[in-house]
């Protein structure tokens, strides 16, 4: 979250200083970058410990630790070294790997934007998962069931995905605005409803792949697929994700609607007093957030050519929440965080392939990175030489009450 989601001056007396420069003379973004890098390093250390604990060679060598302690150490170093080498090369070791990282990042960016945007309007969108599923259903249906000319088909399918997500998000906004139903409850529940809806749809002939009984839909028609870059898996949906980030930036910082969303998010009472409709802002925020999550869903089915299955959304909607935190709620930050997570996912697959390190380790790494990035003070107490950032120190917290 960025600085401007701070609460009333009374409750959060963290000074909002104008200084763009840190105490060390480095610009703030550089300091933030350094802190984030250090956080990644720390997370890798935690991961290394887990790798060592779990490694069979280390376990074997530890069995005779008294006799030859260096064996244990070297086994440990080898295990960690190999795992991380695979992780790194798997993420950025070549064009294909980079393309894979970007592909994995694509839906995370859109999902992260969905969470960030709602956050800025003072809403906790835990429902990106459900919105993503509905978006994927809509986009996929248009993609495989309709016949439209090239270009148009893709466009219509993407729009369908946006509409699907927007509907699912909009319900949350409308209920919140009209009845006060807490968005956290509603989004959690709608996630379940969405997945059960998907599972049910996949048993109907409309969605089932012809000639098959399995709950799997057809792949969308070629006309509805995002163009691919070369023979990598990377597709134009990635550019759309970047475009979405630019759009969100514009919306929040350069549009009247975004102004109102931010105002409502920062102080709903003052916004109401200034003639804004708080309920409307909630609806708009959730509709747009839902549409963004829906876009992530479309990217799954239109970009990576995945058919609809009960797993089409993976855990993107939840990972999106961490991506949004890592990105401090800003569009640029979300893009960068999405890229990092994409790289970790892609690298993690290679790491398990080459060193049999379970994928669950990637999950731990991601969580620990976010923890450290979110607590710069902790990172600084471990690396005291890091320069101080001026102004917003920690990620500002915000309560349920908006």
């Amino acid at each position: 979250m960025s600085n401007d989601t701070a609460t009333e001056p009374e409750q959060t007396p963290v000074p909002a200083e104008p200084a763009k420069e840190s105490g060390s003379g480095l610009p703030n973004w550089a300091v933030q970058g350094l802190v984030s890098l250090s956080a990644i390093v720390l997370a890798l250390v935690v991961g290394a410990i887990l790798i060592i604990i779990g490694d069979d060679d280390v376990k074997a060598a530890a069995g005779y630790f008294g006799a030859a302690p260096m064996d244990t150490v070297s086994a440990a170093l080898t295990a960690v070294g190999e795992a991380y080498k695979a992780l790194f090369l798997g993420a950025v070791g070549g064009v294909d790997q980079i393309a894979e990282s970007l592909t994995q990042a694509t839906p995370l960016i859109c999902g992260g934007l969905a969470v960030s945007l709602a956050f800025r309007a003072g809403l906790f969108n835990i429902g990106a998962q459900g919105q993503l599923i509905i978006g994927a259903i809509f986009a996929s249906y248009v993609g495989f069931a309709w016949d439209l000319p090239p270009g148009l088909h893709l466009l219509v399918a993407v729009i369908a995905g946006l509409i699907g997500g927007a509907l699912w998000g909009g319900v949350v906004g409308v209920l919140k605005a009209r009845t006060g139903a807490h968005e956290v409850i509603v989004t959690i529940m709608l996630n379940y409803v969405a997945i059960y809806l998907l599972v049910w749809l996949l048993t109907t002939t409309t969605f089932k792949r012809p000639g098959r009984d399995d709950p799997i839909s057809p792949i969308v028609k070629p006309n509805a697929q995002f163009p691919q870059f070369g023979d990598t898996r990377l597709h134009a949906g990635f550019l759309l994700a970047l475009l979405a980030a630019v759009f969100v930036w514009w919306l929040l910082n350069r549009s009247t609607v975004g102004f109102e969303l931010r105002a409502v998010g920062a102080n709903a009472d003052a916004s109401r007093t200034a003639g804004m409709s708080v309920g409307r802002a909630y609806v708009i925020a959730m509709v747009i957030a839902g549409a963004l999550a829906g876009l992530a869903g479309s990217q799954q089915v239109l970009g990576t050519d995945l058919p609809l299955t009960d797993g089409v959304a993976a855990t993107i909607g939840f990972d999106a929440i961490t991506v949004a935190l890592l990105g401090r709620g800003t569009p640029l930050g979300t893009v960068l965080a999405g890229l990092l997570f994409g790289a970790l996912n892609a690298g993690g697959l290679q790491m398990q392939l080459q060193t049999q390190t379970p994928l669950t380790l990637t999950t731990v790494l991601q969580a620990v990175i976010v923890l450290f990035v979110a607590a710069p003070a902790l990172v600084r107490s471990i690396f005291p030489f890091l320069p101080k950032e001026r102004g917003a120190g920690a990620v500002l917290a915000k309560g349920w009450n908006g």
Partner: protein, 340 residues
């Protein structure tokens, strides 16, 4: 059973074919699902051991990972790649078409049109579930048996179909009226927990069946099904269960005391055979359908129930097996794999 054994561990078959890479990609359930990924992997392991191959495996965490893992396998220059589950169909078809030199096999699925280097492995588990239904009906004291599934998909309902038909057959043969709770194969409607993870929910679901009088439970729900076994265990001998996919006394040994038997889906054998056929240069792309005839599916041993299952029931089960093989008994389930 499964673990991260170092890949160079090829004890058993020596390292006769060390350059031969036998590879496997799981679906998002992972290799520890106590179900089809795990069983398929066991088949890969046994082939590797027997022939002294090099094993490479990739677990998928989400649907996103299938194409990536499949590509990685191709890149790793695998000689044979086994994909587990229908969700991998698209990625496998694509990789098979692009890499005619590599042999592929896929569990529980088949491409729309045969592909020269892709062997589909399917299983008619309705057959052994039919036996399980008969066995359950015979063992029931209350005259009610129960089943539930994780999610309503064909790989689940095929077991439930066979089970229900087996009970009906029992009723016809013995003029009894044993009821099946939790599945109506005519209406294709029944009891599902909604996921494969929530063990507590599975247990509660089984408990609801037990309350309705069922004393033999047939859970078809992966880890969630383990909850059903727990419910049986908690009944202190009143309720027993039949497990699916693997021999439960091996894969979930702590529940062996309540397991009358298990419906084995011979994915391990099928995967093993497919891999070995590649090593031996005997690969063909015809669909393998595991049946009772070829041993691709069957009832597991009775283990602790060996003495409790009456001898005549045992012989009737043998008879059923013969009748199914001979075609004397036809199973109606619509989701049985059809030879293509």
């Amino acid at each position: 059973a499964c673990g991260s054994k170092p890949t160079e561990d090829t004890a058993g078959g020596g390292d006769a074919n060390k350059d031969f890479k036998a590879c496997m990609v799981s679906d998002s359930g992972g290799f520890d699902d106590k179900s089809f990924n795990q069983t398929s992997y066991a088949g890969l392991q046994s082939a590797v051991k027997e022939k002294g191959l090099t094993e490479v495996k990739a677990e998928s965490k989400s649907d996103n990972d299938y194409p990536t893992n499949m590509n990685a396998m191709v890149q790793a220059k695998c000689n044979v790649i086994v994909a587990v589950g229908f969700k991998l169909e698209d990625a496998t078809d694509k990789a098979a078409q692009a890499n005619p030199d590599i042999k592929f096999a896929i569990v529980d699925s088949a491409p729309a049109k045969p592909i020269a280097n892709l062997k589909p492995l399917a299983f008619n588990t309705a057959q052994s579930s039919f036996q399980a239904g008969y066995l359950a009906a015979a063992m029931s004291k209350t005259g009610k048996v129960g089943t539930y599934g994780g999610i309503k998909i064909p790989t689940v309902t095929i077991f439930m179909d066979g089970f229900a038909e087996g009970v009906r057959y029992y009723n016809k043969q013995k003029s009894k009226n044993v009821q099946v709770l939790g599945w109506d194969d005519a209406k294709q409607a029944g009891l599902f927990t909604g996921d494969f993870e929530d063990k507590a929910k599975g247990q509660n679901t089984a408990q609801n069946l037990i309350t309705q009088g069922a004393d033999v439970i047939f859970p078809v729900a992966g880890p969630s099904g383990l909850g059903g076994l727990q419910a049986a265990k908690a009944s202190n001998g009143k309720v027993n269960a039949i497990w699916v996919d693997t021999d439960g006394c091996v894969s979930a040994a702590e529940y062996c005391s309540v397991l009358i038997s298990s419906v084995e889906k011979g994915m391990d054998v099928a995967v093993h055979d497919a891999v070995v056929s590649v090593v031996d240069n005997k690969f063909d792309n015809s669909q393998f359908i595991g049946t009772m005839e070829n041993g691709g599916t069957g009832l597991a041993p009775f283990h602790e129930f060996d003495s409790k299952v009456p001898a005549d029931v045992k012989s009737e089960l043998e008879q059923i097996k013969a009748d199914i093989i001979s075609g004397k008994i036809t199973i109606e389930s619509k989701v049985q794999p059809k030879a293509s």
